[in-house]
């Protein structure tokens, strides 16, 4: 927890007349789970979208391992090990687990331009990797639409871990999940940390975030209003800061 992995400094972003971010700082250390908190419209999603290159910032700098960077697409961010798992956009319902797992990064076999999907390898690797992280699936050929929300989130997290993500961004991963399923997803977040990943965990559910995060950054209407380590703060104090929007 010593080295800064990603540092965002003085990020500003406006959409027309709406100032979504007014000079936000946000830092994630190596192998740390950061809880990014704030009410609706606080600017959490905008900040993340700027980090992964979906929006360019109006002002401010982004540093990866101390080096200034600017991603121009999600793809570039992914190539640098920053992987986002979106709540609704994690997996495609009509496709099998293994086809989803490798979407965009499918392994092939063959010569020259005649390259065919390595389907057996895909199924095998997919099942092994997920089992390795502790995610049990019935069959990699199963259709994703048969899976529960928690299972989908789990698979998306497992996929990010497998493809060598160094920073995992989870956007409301436990929203709309049952208690049991949330507990499972939180367990995979801990597993990701044990494997040396950093995680940015965006959520409304303070209790979920509190149980896994090492540190919290709180935004309110586009500004930083709090930055605590877990030892410094109780869940109630966090809720208080979010709802009042006052610096603690």
């Amino acid at each position: 927890m010593t080295d800064k992995f990603v540092k965002m400094e003085g990020i500003c972003k406006s959409f027309g007349r709406v100032q979504a971010l007014r000079g936000v700082d946000c830092t994630v250390y190596q192998n740390e789970v950061l809880g990014l908190l704030g009410d609706n419209g606080a600017g959490k999603s905008t900040l993340i979208k700027i980090l992964v290159g979906i929006y360019p910032p109006d002002k401010g700098g982004i540093y990866l391992n101390g080096e200034k960077i600017r991603f121009s697409s999600n793809r570039e961010a992914r190539a640098s090990g920053i992987e986002t798992v979106y709540q609704d956009l994690a997996l495609i319902g009509l496709m099998s687990i293994s086809r989803n797992f490798f979407l965009g990064r499918e392994p092939t076999r063959g010569i020259g331009p005649l390259k065919l999907l390595d389907r057996r390898g895909m199924a095998h690797v997919c099942k092994e990797c997920l089992a390795d992280i502790g995610i049990e699936i019935r069959s990699p050929d199963e259709c994703v639409s048969c899976l529960s929300g928690g299972e989908r989130q789990s698979i998306a997290i497992g996929r990010a871990v497998h493809f060598g993500a160094k920073l995992l961004i989870l956007d409301e991963p436990t929203a709309a999940l049952s208690v049991k399923e949330s507990a499972k997803v939180l367990e995979y977040v801990r597993e990701a940390k044990r494997r040396g990943l950093s995680v940015i965990f965006i959520s409304h559910n303070i209790h979920h975030v509190y149980s896994v995060a090492d540190r919290f950054t709180i935004l309110d209407r586009g500004s930083n209003v709090g930055d605590f380590t877990r030892e410094e703060v109780t869940p109630d104090e966090l809720i208080d800061t979010i709802s009042t929007g006052k610096k603690a």
Partner: protein, 323 residues
């Protein structure tokens, strides 16, 4: 034991082609019962294949495009434009058939590309974009030709290759089989195929995963145009004349073939082999009714019925979560 049986059934239902295959067998048995001595002959099989080949080639492209979540209603008109260009270039301008074919295909691919630009850049549904294109092309074609047919009297090996006789069969059947195999492999076994399914399943998720979903759609539009154009030339190879109303209503037959074969109207699911079975089913109905001595009007009624039944079966299969 029970588990393995239910597992087997599960797998069987999981194939997109399952509904089409059942329909094929049922319709086959019905026609066999209606005219047992004529239906199950080589001549009859050849006739079905010949009737289905042109539609099947169009349905392959339609199937790709529909899986990626778009439509093309202009394929019938594209067929006619392509065949007309092919015929005019050869007969009126004396251009070598191979070059004429190449130009016809270029134009067809260009129509597909235009459809993709209108749909993706214009931000309108492909249903509207290609409906407009369908009328536009047909109108231009009728205006330029004045509604007259164009014939080609010359001899050309290319026309024999496109749609010549081999015994009772025609080479168009070979084209259909070869193209189905090639495109079934592309769809089921390549990275591109995976992207086609993903694009139709969820354009946003596909983009998030770093695949250019719009490029996939563009390629499929061009592919659909190309295959429709090729089908038009294959059709011309058989009759050696083309009238500007060629292909009227074929776009709907191609969509019907794809849907009967398990392709979802909303995208994300489908199969080339299913679409081919769908096209064969359409050909079989047309031929079987002739053999049974039924008036030709029954053809449309039959296709309509089968389309509805197939769509319901496919929807039920999908609802239960089979892939």
């Amino acid at each position: 034991m029970k588990d393995s049986i239910s597992g087997f059934c599960h797998r069987l239902l999981g194939y997109s082609e399952f509904g089409a295959l059942i329909g094929f067998v049922v319709v086959f048995l019905v026609f066999y019962a209606l005219s047992p001595s004529q239906f199950l002959t080589i001549e009859s099989l050849a006739a079905i294949l010949t009737k289905s080949a042109v539609l099947g080639i169009i349905a392959i492209g339609m199937c790709f495009l529909m899986i990626s979540g778009e439509f093309d209603l202009s394929v019938g008109s594209t067929c006619a434009v392509s065949a007309m260009c092919f015929a005019l270039l050869m007969s009126k301008m004396g251009i070598h058939p191979a070059i004429a074919l190449l130009i016809a295909l270029l134009i067809s691919g260009g129509i597909g590309f235009a459809n993709s630009v209108i749909t993706l850049k214009g931000g309108i549904p492909s249903f509207i974009a290609t409906l407009g294109m369908m009328w536009f092309l047909r109108g231009v074609l009728l205006a330029i030709t004045g509604g007259r047919t164009v014939e080609y009297w010359g001899r050309s090996t290319l026309l024999l290759v496109l749609n010549g006789r081999i015994g009772h069969f025609r080479t168009s059947s070979i084209w259909l089989i070869v193209l189905v195999i090639i495109f079934a492999i592309i769809l089921g076994r390549t990275r591109y195929g995976n992207w086609v399914y993903a694009t139709g399943g969820s354009r946003e998720t596909t983009k998030v995963m770093g695949v250019n979903a719009d490029r996939v759609k563009r390629i499929n539009f061009v592919l659909t145009g190309l295959l429709a154009g090729f089908a038009g030339c294959v059709y011309f190879g058989r009759f050696k004349f083309v009238d500007p109303t060629l292909g009227l209503g074929w776009e709907l037959e191609a969509i019907a073939a794809a849907v009967i074969g398990g392709t979802l109207l909303t995208g994300g699911r489908g199969s080339v082999i299913g679409a081919c079975i769908g096209a064969l089913l359409v050909g079989m109905i047309s031929h079987g009714l002739i053999l049974a001595g039924a008036p030709a009007y029954w053809y449309q009624a039959f296709i309509g019925l089968i389309l509805i039944v197939a769509a319901i079966i496919n929807m039920q299969i999908q609802k239960r979560g089979f892939i």
